[in-house]
Symmetry: C2
Subunit: 486 residues, 2 copies
């Protein structure tokens, strides 16, 4: 008797699970349903497609549908939406999807109507499963702002959205772009619009962009954005997206101090205020969500219901620093957790592994990266007594030409001396350097231990004391002082 492994969702987590499961257990039937036409694509590359660094949306695809079908022997059904799950009958309801298969640019290119544009045109059917993976991903949060449904207002829900934005930029020649939200996607899109010759305004309701990176690092990013001509509106909630004839014409904001209302004229708006897990499918099932709103999972990606797994951007993960469930919808986690579930389903129980919250983003000429717990309030909530220090160090030996400053905020726990996290920014050497801290977090290293790590040195690449070691040295001094003050 042959087991059937059903996968819902055809991006990183789903297709990693399908591929791994089939490879490890070739006798298993593996059926993957994807409501759109795109599978296994790098959504992280969409800003670079709009910017012009990537020529074609097809370039973002890691593995083509035919390869899954023909080489990996996965029964991949694109244009098939799973609309219900019955965990008692162990079946899913599938609707062949009319909208998918059409023009990519219409596939979620607009904030409103995205995701439910599909009207079924085939007969729906029940697909039985022995193992089920829910890998429905995350969707852009659409804030309750008046006018968010106007023409020229975009979110980054899907691959199609990237196509729609680029098409709009090229066909409508907008002169001014408004970016709502100063997170990863917002700042990447600010860079993309700038590269396309648009004047760019970024609106952020918080005091700083890139909230998870902390104020010290964010300020360096903000200075750089301003240097590059981006208009930053911090502490500035967006009240409405104004328009004429259904088309966006401006972004109305309220100054958080004066309460004064201003409208910045724009020809295009990109709303990137975050993403939330897509868990609608599980609404009427016994599958439980966790405290973050994503699907609760154990160390093998199992939900509370037998043989039902969740992985990727719709699932919770355990944060190894806090020990708590976390919602960190990022590409590596999706790939890795999907792969682990595939192995487990195939009979080789494989932990999905915890995260430490590592993330990075390019903002114009800067590399910006973070890992662990940086925010002091978050640290306190996790039971730590955080001490933080920020340093600036050169990226190369002091005498070697071409270096530039790296700013590092590092956080440790006063009680245990444990390293909790770091955030950093600079023109070079940041994106990989953050992972030295990430590795240390996985091993629950103390700041003292980290300061003694033997890191490689050569004049073109760092000072003899690597900037992260200097940060640890300074933080360690502060942890000692803090201790002796008590």
């Amino acid at each position: 008797m042959t087991d059937t492994f059903v996968v819902v969702g055809g991006d990183a987590a789903g297709m990693s699970a399908a591929s791994k499961g089939k490879r490890e257990a070739p006798e298993m039937e593996v059926v993957a349903f994807e409501r759109g036409e795109w599978v296994s694509y790098g959504a992280c590359g969409l800003p670079y497609y709009v910017k012009g660094d990537v020529d074609s949306l097809e370039d973002l695809v890691a593995v083509a549908p035919e390869e899954f079908r023909e080489e990996r022997d996965v029964d991949l059904r694109t244009g098939h939406e799973v609309t219900a799950v019955d965990t008692d009958a162990r079946t899913v309801t599938v609707e062949p999807n009319a909208a998918a298969g059409g023009d990519a640019a219409t596939d979620g290119g607009d904030a409103v109507g995205d995701g439910d544009a599909a009207g079924g045109n085939g007969d729906s059917f029940e697909q039985p499963y022995d193992h089920l993976l829910v890998a429905t991903g995350a969707g852009a949060v659409v804030p309750p702002i008046d006018g968010v449904d106007r023409d020229g207002v975009f979110t980054f829900q899907t691959v199609g959205a990237g196509g729609a934005v680029k098409e709009f930029v090229e066909s409508e020649s907008p002169a001014v772009a408004g970016v709502v939200g100063g997170g990863y996607v917002g700042l990447e899109m600010a860079e993309a619009f700038d590269a396309r010759g648009l004047e760019v305004h970024v609106f952020e309701m918080l005091p700083h962009v890139l909230q998870p990176f902390g104020a010290d690092v964010a300020e360096v990013v903000e200075d750089h954005l301003r240097e590059r001509g981006v208009h930053l509106h911090l502490n500035t909630p967006v009240e409405a997206i104004e328009g004429e004839g259904g088309r966006v014409t401006g972004i109305r904001t309220e100054d958080s101090e004066s309460g004064e209302t201003t409208t910045v004229p724009v020809d295009l708006a990109l709303v990137g205020v975050g993403v939330g897990p897509r868990v609608d499918l599980l609404e009427d099932t016994a599958v439980e969500l966790g405290p973050t709103g994503a699907v609760a999972t154990d160390e093998y990606g199992r939900t509370n219901v037998a043989d039902v797994y969740a992985a990727g951007d719709c699932a919770e993960v355990r944060n190894a620093v806090t020990g708590d469930p976390d919602f960190v919808p990022l590409a590596l986690t999706a790939n890795r957790h999907g792969r682990a579930v595939g192995a487990t389903v195939a009979g080789d129980p494989t932990p999905v592994g915890p995260v430490v919250g590592s993330a990075e983003v390019k903002v114009f000429d800067l590399e910006v990266a973070r890992t662990g717990v940086v925010d002091e309030e978050e640290a306190r909530e996790a039971g730590f007594d955080p001490v933080s220090r920020t340093i600036e160090e050169g990226s190369r030996a002091h005498y070697y030409p071409g270096g530039s400053p790296i700013t590092i905020e590092m956080v440790g726990d006063r009680g245990t001396g444990r390293l909790l996290g770091a955030s950093m920014v600079g023109r070079e050497g940041v994106a990989q350097r953050i992972n030295t801290v990430a590795a240390a977090l996985h091993s629950e290293t103390t700041v003292v231990e980290f300061e003694r790590h033997d890191f490689a040195y050569a004049p073109p690449f760092s000072p003899p004391w690597d900037p992260v070691l200097t940060a640890a040295k300074v933080l360690n001094g502060a942890l000692g002082d803090a201790g002796s003050e008590e």
Copy 2:
């Protein structure tokens, strides 16, 4: 009663110890003796001075003598050579040094006569100590090759050597340089000579350059050197340095296979076949050397004799991967161990910390880096059963422009699954990436654990699975296969 802390040697280890000791125990008298005039200099920068990237030798100095004297209150005596140690009387014999203080370019600019050119011109005296740090550093090994004392033949013993090489290049306009030894210094100098317009020949007696990096990485470096026009003579021991009128004219080699003798005409030769610890000073003392020939030390940098410490390039260190004493004469270790000894002497016992053997070098357009145990024979000697895999991965997301391949060899232990080391090479993202492995080695991470590390990802900086994670994944597969074969 005030303690006296005597430091022998004014570079990284010695001056770090002196500064830290004085800062932590201001009442302590700190006397540092340096036989030359240069203190606290970045010898690693000498190739870049010759190349022209660094304008002046003074630029290599991290902290000037006046700053030690005036701001840090260290009694620094340059031009003072310590010629004997009496550990019973607790004194050192000091000779004011005539040669030092002269022209920097004559200070060790030649392979022969270096280091003992000094004839005393002042009265020698006995300096009592309560704590003694021997930080005499390492010296270039001068191989027993006929003609190594000719004019135009250089080693990189001292700061002055860098000055002498540059002066020779500028005043004598040599057309062809021969580099004897394909290690760090040899390849950095090959790049420097090439940048100065010289034709460059590199002679290496082993099958590959950069022996500690393993053959797979070395081959990538060798291809690149050839592409850049460097003439590589591998498996080629140098028999003699030929000359006319005392001046170098060629390098005579023997082909290791055919036994045939060839002479490559050169106008300048740089001998860089390695360094050895400078331990002459301790020859007639009770201070013991370790198995590597460097001074044996414990976890606090203490020798076997009470109150006598050793740190930096003359001292052994513990390798955290093998658990054995090791000789790893590099800048960070010297800085860190000196600082730890300074703290310990000042009353705050501070471990020097182990090393994991991290090192890196720029070779033309390549970043080359290694950490841990890469050589399989070395791994076996340390009691491991090594399994090694080499992968090639892109430095950026597959669709992001400008990426280039990174080659990674990773080694694990079949028995325990422990990660033992890695070596890597590429045009970008290597120099910092190696330290993710170094951090994992400090925590005795297994390959499986490392594969599950949550590393930051963004398309400009890596594929979603970082190349080191892919290497771990492949190695992990091999470790599993290896296990199941048994």
